[in-house]
Amino acid sequence: MYIKSIHLENVRSFPELQFDFERPGGRFAGWTVFVGGNSSGKSTILRSAALALIGPEAGGRLAGSPTGWIQKGQTKASVVLKVKWDREYDGFKQAGKNPGDSFEAGVRWFLEKKTDEIPEFKGVDKRNANDTRIKSAERGPWSPNSFGWFSAGYGPMRRLTGSSSEAMRYSSSKELESRYVTLFREDAALSESEEWLRRMHARTLESSSSEIGRMLEGVKELLGDGLLPHGMKISRITVDHVFVEDAKEVELPMRDISDGCRSIYATILDLIHGLCEVYGANKLFERTSEGKLVVACPGVVIIDEIEAHLHPSWQRDIPEWLKVHFPKIQFLVSTHSPLIAQAADENGLFILPLQSDEDQVARPATDAEYERIRWGTAHKTILGVAFGLKTTRTRWATQKLKRWQELNAKHHEGIRLAASEKREFVQLQKQMELAFDGAPVDAL
C-alpha cells in the first residue's frame, strides 16, 4: 500500500493541510521529504499519517493521551489518508466488497461537550450512497489479522538498546503499533530486531531450514552492500551476538559500533524484520537484472530526522542507498539536512514554514524550486527557500563583519580613527580578505 494523500484539519498547529504524494506516472515509491524549522510540525504530520494507517485502536494505545491533538480553540480534529492498495500484496479480512484502486482511512479527535478536557479518539466514519459504513480501513490496514499492508515508523532517537519497561511492552507486542513505537515514544529502542536475527540463527541450528538460512544470508548481503562506511558488514551471527567487521577485519559486536552505524543498522534491520513478518521470508528478497539483492516489497516507511548521527557524506548517500535497496517502499521522512532534502523524488518535497512566519503555509515545493534543489549544491539549498538561512557564517563572524562596516563607515566619512580602532581596523581588513578571497567563491 501507499499513501496517496493526507488531509489534516485542526491537528495541532495545522488549521488545514492537504498534501498529495503521487509522483508523475502514478508512482508512490521513493523519497518524500518534509523540511522545516524546529516546532514547524514535521513530527505532527508523520505521526498523524501513522495513526491513520494503523487506526484508532492500535493508534490510541500508541499515542497515549489524546489531549493536545486538537488545535487550540477547536473542538474536533481529523487526519484522513487516501490509501492505495495492491491486490498482489494486500488482503482484506471479513466479508465485504473490496474497494477500487484506493480508499480512505482516517482518525479524528473530538470533544463531546465543549467543556470536556479529554477528547475522544475514533476512526472517521465513511459511508456509501446507501448510508452503509465503509469498512475498508477496518478490514484492511487496521486489522491485525489481514495480510499485507506493511508500514512502519521511526522516531528521531533510533537506538539498539534500552527501552524503558513501559515501552518494552509495545515493541514486543505483535500488534500493529509494535512497528511504530519509536515514532511516538522516545523511551523505546529497536532491540527487537537484533534479537530476531539471533533467534532466526538459533532456529537454523535447531532444524536447518534452508528458507531461514537463505533469508539470513540475504540480510547479510544486503547490509554489506555499501551501507556502512569502511566496508563494514555483518560478519557473524551467533546465538548471543551479531558481529560486525570492517575492512581491516576488526570484529565488534553490533552494540559496540559507533552511534551513526548502530542507529542505521537498527533501523534497517527493524525494517527487514517487519517486512519479513508481513510478507514472509520467501517473498523478501529479489535480485535485479544487474545481480543486486533488493527488498522488493511495497509499503510505507516513516522516518523522523533520518540524518541523526550521520556524517554529511553519509547524509548525502543514505537516501540513494535506501531507494536502491527498497525500490518499492514509499519513504516519508523529515529532515534538518539539505543533503537529505536534495534526494527528494518528484513531487516529494514539502516545505513547512516556521510557526512565527504567519504569512506562510505548509506547501509542496514548486517545480522550479524542486528542480533547483535536486540539481543544486547544499550551499544553494540551505540559503534557498526550503531552509531559508540568511547566512551560514557564525554569529561571531557576522558580528565581526558588522564591526568592520562600522569602522569602515567612520573611515569612509573621513573621521580619524582612535589608535585602538585603527589597530582593530587593520586586523579586520586582513580577516576580510580571508573571509572573501578564498576558493571556491572567487578562487583567486
Binding site: S356, D357, E358, D359, L383, G384, V385, G388, L389, K390, T391, T392, R393, L401, W404, Q405, E406, N408, A409, K410, H412, E413, I415, M432, A435, F436, V441, D442
Partner: protein, 239 residues
C-alpha cells in the same frame, strides 16, 4: 539598494480607479479584510497590469528587487503594510517592487509605531546614497552619522531588517563588483593607450549601467558616490 528614477505619475484613469478602491476600503467596516480582498483581486486583474508595468520600469532592466537588487522573483510590495494601513493598500505612492526574502524580512517586522517609515529607507522616494555605501568587499554599509557619532540608525535598521548582506545576495554583489572593476580597469587601459575613444568608453559605461546583474554596484560606482573610488574615479575623469 540603488538609485532609482523618481516615481512616475500614473495616468488619470488608473489613479481614479485606485482612488475608488481606496474609498471602498476606507468605507468598509472591516478595512483590513477589505484591503486584503481588494488588493488580492486587483493583483490578478487586467486593469492593474499597467501599475505593475510602471513599477517594473522603475526597477529597470532585470526587474531587480528595489531593496537588495537581487534576482529572486519579485512582486509588488507595500512600503507601509496593508495590514497596518489598509487605506494605503491601493495607493500608488505606497508601492515598491521587492523580492520574497526582503518582503518577508520586512512584512513581519515593520512596526506600526514607526508610521513615518523611520525604520525603513524607501529606495524609490529617498536618496539611498545618503544612507549607504558599498565597500570593497561588496558589503552594503550604513554610512556613519558624524553628528550622532554612530552609524546612521535608519540605515542600520534597514540593513538588518532586510538582511541586505545575506549570503546569497552578498556573494552575488561581490562578484559583480570584481567583474565590474576588471572591466573598468581593462577599458581604462585601452583608453590610455588611445585604443578606445572617449565616446566608445562612454558607450561601454552605458552598457555596464544597464547590465541587470546586481545593478546596485553599477549604480554606486558608476553613477553614485562610488565614482570617487579607484579605478572608477580615474576612468570616469578620463572620459
Amino acid at each position: 539598494m540603488r538609485t532609482l528614477p523618481s516615481r512616475k505619475p500614473l495616468g488619470e484613469k488608473l489613479l481614479s480607479k485606485l482612488a475608488a478602491e481606496t474609498a471602498a476600503i476606507t468605507g468598509s467596516a472591516d478595512a483590513k479584510t477589505e484591503a486584503a480582498t481588494r488588493y488580492g483581486r486587483a493583483r490578478k486583474a487586467k486593469w492593474f497590469e499597467p501599475v505593475v508595468k510602471t513599477l517594473c520600469e522603475l526597477a529597470g532592466p532585470g526587474r531587480r528587487c528595489m531593496f537588495c537588487s537581487g534576482s529572486e522573483s519579485s512582486d509588488v510590495e507595500h512600503y507601509r503594510p496593508k495590514a497596518v494601513h489598509p487605506e494605503l493598500a491601493m495607493e500608488w505612492e505606497n508601492y515598491l517592487w521587492s523580492c520574497t526574502p526582503c518582503n518577508r524580512g520586512k512584512s513581519n517586522r515593520f512596526p506600526p509605531e514607526t508610521e513615518d517609515g523611520g525604520l525603513l529607507i524607501n529606495p524609490l522616494d529617498e536618496n539611498v546614497w545618503d544612507f549607504f555605501f558599498i565597500d570593497d568587499y561588496g558589503l552594503l554599509t550604513p554610512r556613519f552619522d558624524s553628528e550622532a557619532g554612530v552609524p546612521d540608525e535608519r540605515a542600520v535598521s534597514t540593513r538588518d531588517l532586510l538582511s541586505l548582506n545575506r549570503e546569497a545576495v552578498h556573494e552575488s554583489r561581490l562578484m559583480r563588483l570584481r567583474n565590474l572593476r576588471q572591466q573598468v580597469t581593462d577599458t581604462f587601459g585601452l583608453l590610455k593607450q588611445r585604443k578606445l575613444s572617449k565616446g566608445e568608453a562612454r558607450e561601454r559605461l552605458e552598457t555596464w549601467k544597464l547590465e541587470p546583474w546586481q545593478p546596485d554596484v553599477a549604480s554606486y560606482f558608476l553613477s553614485g558616490p562610488g565614482k570617487d573610488r579607484s579605478p572608477f574615479k580615474e576612468f570616469l575623469a578620463a572620459i
